[in-house]
């Protein structure tokens, strides 16, 4: 018998600190599968966020840097600009990327920084115990929206893939989910594409991964998957929002956008 499925080599063989059913582990694994398949672990530098995945540096076997909250894209910029031959990725949650680090996110895309951003959207701040995130859905109950997120009071969620796709330096903006095997396969393909884009020097590739937080949603892992499917996907439609190869939203030309 041959092994048809085992842990990727670049994912260090230790238990994670994530809660049962947390889909961070799935995303870690498919990211490492891509790194292994491309054989780039020795040339890859990852940047961790602040949030539940703050200790991801203990799990990825490539060189890792821990950034301040929201600053991973800036840190990654410093790494990539001085090491253009290396593969650089950030791994960020929704609070990190779409609230405190919004400026860094927008400008890393505007500059077309040649890196990969893995964006975990689970509509909540997990590490601090379940507060409203920029992606929290209207009506969603969190510690800081105890009566449900009221857009009149707390505003509306940020749709990151759509926003980033409007920026000229963005090569790939794709929203995927890890709620089912077919979707996980799709997510892995998107991450592979993002790294291939970096190899080809195409610019910023952002893969938004709809994920779960059973603990802070107050649901079982299986119920959490169902919520992702029933409530998140309708609000955050899966799909490719920008792909320079496919020309879904082609890059602005110099005459149109005034940018190069």
């Amino acid at each position: 018998m041959a092994v048809v499925f085992e842990r990727p080599k670049s994912l260090i063989d230790i238990p994670t600190h994530y809660c049962p059913g947390c889909t961070h582990g799935i995303v870690h694994r498919i990211l490492c599968e891509v790194i292994d398949e491309m054989g780039i672990e020795g040339d890859t530098i990852g940047v961790c966020p602040v949030g539940c995945s703050v200790m991801a540096y203990d799990y990825f076997n490539c060189d890792m840097i821990e950034a301040a909250h929201g600053r991973a894209p800036a840190v990654a910029t410093g790494v990539k600009r001085t090491n253009p031959d290396k593969f650089v990725f950030t791994y960020q949650g929704d609070g990190d990327l779409a609230a405190i680090g919004t400026a860094e996110t927008v400008h890393v895309a505007a500059r077309g920084e040649n890196i990969v951003v893995i964006f975990i959207n689970n509509t909540i701040y997990g590490m601090t115990g379940g507060q409203m995130a920029p992606t929290t859905l209207p009506g969603q109950v969190t510690q800081t929206t105890p009566f449900g997120r009221d857009p009149e009071l707390a505003g509306y969620p940020v749709r990151v893939s759509e926003m980033v796709s409007t920026l000229s330096g963005c090569a790939l903006a794709q929203r995927v989910a890890v709620d089912s095997v077919p979707h996980i396969r799709e997510a892995k393909k998107a991450i592979r594409k993002a790294f291939e884009n970096q190899k080809a020097g195409k610019g910023l590739s952002l893969v938004e991964v709809l994920s779960t937080c059973p603990t802070n949603w107050g649901l079982t892992p299986i119920e959490a998957i169902k919520r992702l499917q029933d409530e998140m996907i309708p609000y955050y439609p899966l799909g490719v929002y920008k792909d320079v190869d496919e020309g879904v939203f082609p890059k602005h030309s110099d005459s149109e956008g005034g940018e190069k």
Binding site: V4, F5, E6, P20, T23, G25, I26, V181
Partner: protein, 68 residues
Amino acid sequence: MAKMTVITERCKGCALCTTACPKKIVELQKEHRNKKGYFYAVCIDQEKCIGCAMCAIMCPDCAITVEK
């Protein structure tokens, strides 16, 4: 002939694998817990396993290996 193996000490009992299995042969233990106190996943009928690895793909903790 295929085989799925749960690394029981890595399993957190989230049960996502049980929903992914097309043959419905993965279940959580009802009596035995691992050292961390989780009811871990088990294959209840190894004969029926087709080695599709869907349980492993769904597992957030790399707690399943599959051979074929």
